[in-house]
Subunit: 237 residues, 4 copies
């Protein structure tokens, strides 16, 4: 299975605090544990030609992981349309943290994807609310994150097809932190944690969730549905 | 409650067969029964300035009904964005029949909204699959349509939040014909029947569904959620 | 519209602390504000004959509100079956707080309905996660309860058809606190708050939710679906 | 992975027409293709001691397949409770055809599970409505069954967590034919086809669906959630 990890890769170049946590970029940290988990993993970043997401790359990608934040606006509409089409055609998509405001996530959701936020480094606790779900396999009843950015409800997304994690924040907020959506033949998993100044993606249970999700949103092997004018399958007379 | 019925109003001008069925336009036929049901109903059409959907009109609209087909592409992006925002802010939206391919519906869904179709005038039978739902109130176990265009699965929409009707077609297809979606603070109802060459909107149980739906998708009275940077509600120390 | 408020009415007789909060019983406190809201409201309690839920009473009940805790086991199977059938036939049901462990709720859910709990009087904050839902109408972005019993995930219920409130607790837990379920022709609303030692049901926004819910789960007027052997609606030849 | 196929195994003994189709019983026909697909498959039938479903057998069963019809009432409450608990603890359950009226399915659903039916041997066509779902992998856009019993809506089940197939019947009915439900830690798949007088379970795409489903409802490896009284995870002062 081929996974491509996409990252805008800007914070890590411009901000010493971020560079200290993710010296090779968030994408490399994520690619490392996905590779170890047995996925054939590549990376792509905003400043590469076509943001690293050429037709060829996408065609060979089973699951795309997306991390973006400060440069959502720099992602070209053409590439967004290309990724959108690939998701509808079956490619899995894992949207992480601030990717909630990415063009691709907003286009797939049809809503503002807005939320409350606060950078206070408070602790976050994710509770499993769908205990039989494959994405929660091997996860305890909570995931404890010592320091994270807060995201709070209302999170302006469509009702998730499956809700797997709910977050508790010390400052008094809650959040739907692990959500599955079906769009076309594609499956999407949104996972909240992962602020650029915290070592969240080095934590083993966070990695486990992303690995589980990559398996879960993998494309199903089926011909694309046929649309358009259709002959009757039964006699109309 | 204020309802605005929007229609592209083209078939009825250009096609004698359609004019014969809806001489004043589909919008007037729909507005008639909504008026009778007690809604303050207005109409708007594609060829009016701003397609009849000025900021003022939308501001005063609780529920917008949408019928379009041959001229989806002529609806300006600006007006689509305006309607989109109003739906997210709470305005109800009822999308009828070929409106499945309207820009506003596709933007709200995030998918292609494609489907199978056939104009053979075969009979359609809608079955109620959510018998306690207010939109099915007063409806028998089926709605029988003697002649309709066929729409068949796969219908490329997100999983509906509520599924109320399933259609059977003589030619062998099925379709999810009555679907509720929440987007932002707004509620959307997609209802399949209503091809322009058939007198579907004069049928009393079809009218009843649209009347019920107008009540159901009416805005809830609440302040808009607050988004953005948030102070903690509890001490972080 | 006829509402019946059922209460086991034991704590209020046996426990001075509870009596101090609800001197006439929780059912009377709830009936009071429902009456004021315009519902024709009656009460019924465990120690009445047939627990106050005779065939006649149920037949005339549009929405049944249920509060129970220490005496779930004393509710007879026969009455549970009677209420169950009425819900499937369309009667609305609002299950409050510790009613999660009532026989009727467990039978309708098919799961254990178990959860975490703690009586520490900590504060609870309910967040609205479905901002356009009629049950949240008139409610701010949170409901703040100064002292409540904690209920925490995992809450062993089926996936709710609609999720409206999520609770945050000071001690670190979250909970799906406002859930709609469809069963048969009936609609069910589970609402978490309302421990017997706290004046929760005197709080106006809590009352507002229960009033909204009574409207929402009210029966739809439709004939019961026909089941069993069916003649074909189309020729089979 | 261990699969147990349970069958009441009565029609095949008493009815020559059924015996002609399934000479060794429906369970053996199903076990055959599951074995070939690589599952360690056993069978169990009603007339064995404890219906073949001892504590030991269930403990070692990852996925239980259930076919029953004429003898639902002979299944003991004790065994139903045992299976129910195992499902809540994570065992997958695939309920086939007339199993819709089994005690175990009704207990898990909380509804009557009633439906319309007709034994006319008409043709059935299942349409895939969730094209990216693993249970539909390798399946064309329809499954065509030349002769089947008709099951028609309204099917009195809770709203499925995932809806994968819709059936069309020549006689004019539709049906939600492939439904996933989560209950506790367990996953359940209901699949409509499989009347005892038709060779449905020998058809390769029907087999493919059941094989896919066995993978899909397999237990996730996680500790059981902890319920009951809970110490705070955060300071309450």
């Amino acid at each position: 299975m081929n996974v491509t990890v996409w990252n805008e890769f800007r914070h890590e170049k411009n901000d010493e605090a971020v560079k200290a946590v993710y010296p090779s970029g968030i994408h490399e940290a994520i690619a490392d544990f996905l590779n170890e988990a047995g996925f054939a993993t590549k990376t792509a970043t905003l400043d590469e030609p076509e943001h690293g997401l050429t037709e060829d790359v996408l065609k060979q990608t089973d699951v795309l992981v997306w991390w973006g934040h400060m440069a959502h606006d720099e992602v070209s509409e053409e590439i967004v349309s290309r990724v959108h089409q690939r998701v509808l055609d079956g490619m899995g998509l894992i949207v992480l943290h601030s990717g909630h405001f990415s063009k691709i996530f907003k286009r797939l959701m049809g809503t503002s994807c807005d939320l409350k936020w606060r950078e206070a480094g408070e602790n976050e606790r994710l509770w499993v609310v769908n205990p039989g779900h494959p994405i929660a396999e091997g996860i305890g009843e909570t995931i404890e994150l010592e320091h994270e950015e807060m995201y709070g409800e209302h999170f302006d997304i469509p009702v998730p097809d499956e809700l797997i994690f709910l977050s508790w924040f010390k400052g008094g907020e809650v959040f739907r932190s692990g959500c599955v959506f079906h769009r076309g033949q594609g499956k999407i998993f949104y996972f909240r944690p992962g602020h650029e100044t915290f070592p969240t993606y080095y934590q083993s249970d966070v990695q486990k969730v992303i690995i589980n999700a990559a398996h879960y949103v993998a494309p199903s092997k089926r011909d694309k549905p046929v649309y358009g004018n259709a002959q009757p399958k039964e006699s109309l007379s």
